[in-house]
Amino acid sequence: MAKPAAGSLAGMLTMTKPSAGSLASRSTWVSTTSVSSSGKRIQREMVELNLDPPPGCCAGPKGDNLYNWVATIIGPPGTPYQGGIYFLDITFPCDYPFQPPKVVFKTRIYHCNVDSAGNVSLEILKDSWSPALTITKVLQALQSIFTKPDPYNPLVPGIAHLYLQDEAKHAELAAEWTLRFAK
């Protein structure tokens, strides 16, 4: 039921996104298979996520569109983000397993790796992406930056600096933001 919709949307994406279009035209067989294969793979991931969701997070398509997902991550206990519920938008490219999904925080968070627009700096979502990674693993990686921020590759240097200098203060501020935005 969701599949044909996904297929048509993927076609739209291919038309609207110039980068994807050029990619498809470069190697001919990709253009015929990648749309449906990415859809298939996303569907499979959806099923697997529903069957066996990782603790503390869930994810699924926003509506009929298989390529636009919404995910929630619950602030892990033992961190200043504890108790917060963070919403994320996940957008799959149409050649998905070969390109990383785009993840954007929709909930404000005081974190050195997440900027005010919600962009995340996570290596596996950029250069270290591998087609063998799944959304489940991405969510787990996101959970791990909740517990262990990476101040050496920051998006918000001020927060990273504070984290390195005064972790207690950082935790206090983060907990305050959690209370304000994520509950």
Binding site: K40, R41, E45, F98, P131, A132, T134
Partner: protein
């Protein structure tokens, strides 16, 4: 069709061969080769003795096999290849060797002791294909378990690890069962296509461990793994094949009616539904084609020849005087009303003989299954060949 006619023409027209047919071991005047009993290995001889087979007639049969013209050698080669169930490396090498020297074929058919290790696990059940499937699944599963994850499971249990296996055998890129898996140098396997597009788009690093991959290796199919997958997940493979291309499906459909026609051990109901195969039927059949070629190929070969001979016989019916097996005829007609010819009788006789033979050593020697089943397979191949020869020569 044209090919079959050629076969017929090429076959030797030896009346002795005719006289010596399957069910009654006929005392044949030896044609100068009776001293050549060393052709059979001792094991083979003992098995044949158990089955009540006349050694002389066996020898004649083997000579028939020897005399078989090129075409039929090819045929035998094919069925013989399929006897070796899981393609291990060693058997593959052997196959190649056999391909190179077709002259050595008859010898290798008779030599039981050599091929023994390639026939690991095929137990004596030939009757139902599902049984065979289960056997092979167990076998391949064991292999897989040993090499991949270390997850152990008792081979006797009935596929409890299929889910684990599914996970283990699926491609990390498309998350489906690997289709034509290709293995990287670092030992990770993906669908060939997936791996190729991963290399194109994400750089030449293994998607799993990020080690550098080499070009050439990434495009070769890991045949052992691929065959294993085909044995374990025929439906999935079939679905992907169908989705990928609809090219080779016609061939299977063409072969099936002939196969089903003479397969007396297969259930009648299955044959009844052999009109237009449904999707599921098709996959089932494909699976059988893959898994039980040892049995079916023989039958198919025999069926093809016999059907063709039947046609020939209708043209000159007075040749029917050669019928050696009138006593079995009533039985035959009751079991199948389609072929009212002596070739039908011959086929039935052959089958009865086979079954009797299997019965004998199923009771006596259930244990030493591998060599015995190989022996049985060889005997079967021989008898079918001999029968076909007898049948073809009769009409020419």
């Amino acid at each position: 069709m044209a090919r079959r006619e050629e076969e017929t023409k090429q076959s030797p027209r030896d009346p002795k061969v005719r006289a010596r047919e399957s069910s009654e071991p006929v005392k044949v005047v030896s044609n100068g080769t009776s001293g050549d009993s060393s052709m059979f290995s001792p094991r083979f001889k003992s098995v044949a003795a158990m089955a009540g087979w006349d050694e002389e007639s066996l020898l004649i049969a083997s000579l028939v096999v020897d005399d078989t013209p090129e075409r039929q050698v090819k045929y035998k080669k094919r069925s013989d290849l399929h006897f070796k169930t899981p393609p291990t490396n060693s058997s593959r090498r052997k196959r190649r060797a056999q391909r190179r020297s077709p002259i050595s074929m008859p010898v290798s058919v008779l030599n039981l002791d050599d091929d023994e290790e390639t026939k690991k696990d095929e137990s004596g059940k030939e009757k139902e294909e599902p049984q065979i499937i289960v056997n092979k699944e167990k076998e391949t599963r064991d292999d897989k378990m040993a090499e991949s994850s270390g997850v152990s499971c008792p081979p006797s249990s009935n596929l409890p690890c299929l889910d684990k296996l599914r996970d283990e055998l699926s491609c990390a890129i498309c998350l489906e069962i690997c289709f034509e898996p290709s293995t990287t140098l670092c030992g990770h396997s993906f669908c060939k296509k997936c791996l190729r597009s991963a290399a194109d788009k994400c750089g030449k690093r293994c998607p799993k461990c990020r080690q550098l991959m080499s070009h050439s290796r990434s495009c070769t199919v890991n045949t052992v793994l691929w065959n294993t997958i085909q044995l374990l997940f025929p439906q999935e493979v079939e679905a992907r094949k169908a989705a990928g291309a609809l090219n080779s499906s016609g061939e299977a459909v063409r072969q099936i009616p002939e196969k089903a026609f003479y397969n007396t051990r297969s259930v009648q109901s299955r044959r009844a539904s052999s009109g237009v195969p449904s999707n599921r039927e098709m996959t089932m059949r494909r699976r059988r084609v893959i898994l039980s070629q040892d049995e079916e190929d023989d039958d198919a070969a025999l069926a093809i020849r016999l059907v063709q001979n039947t046609e020939a016989e209708h043209q000159n019916p007075e040749q029917g005087a050669y019928n050696n097996h009138r006593s079995i005829r009533p039985l035959r007609t009751s079991s199948s009303r389609r072929i009212p010819s002596q070739d039908g009788d011959a086929a039935l006789a052959l089958r009865l003989q086979r079954e009797e033979f299997m019965e004998v050593f199923r009771v006596d020697h259930g244990q030493s299954g591998s060599s015995l089943s190989l022996a049985r397979a060889n005997l079967r191949a021989m008898t079918s060949r001999a029968a076909s020869h007898r049948a073809t020569t009769r009409h020419l």
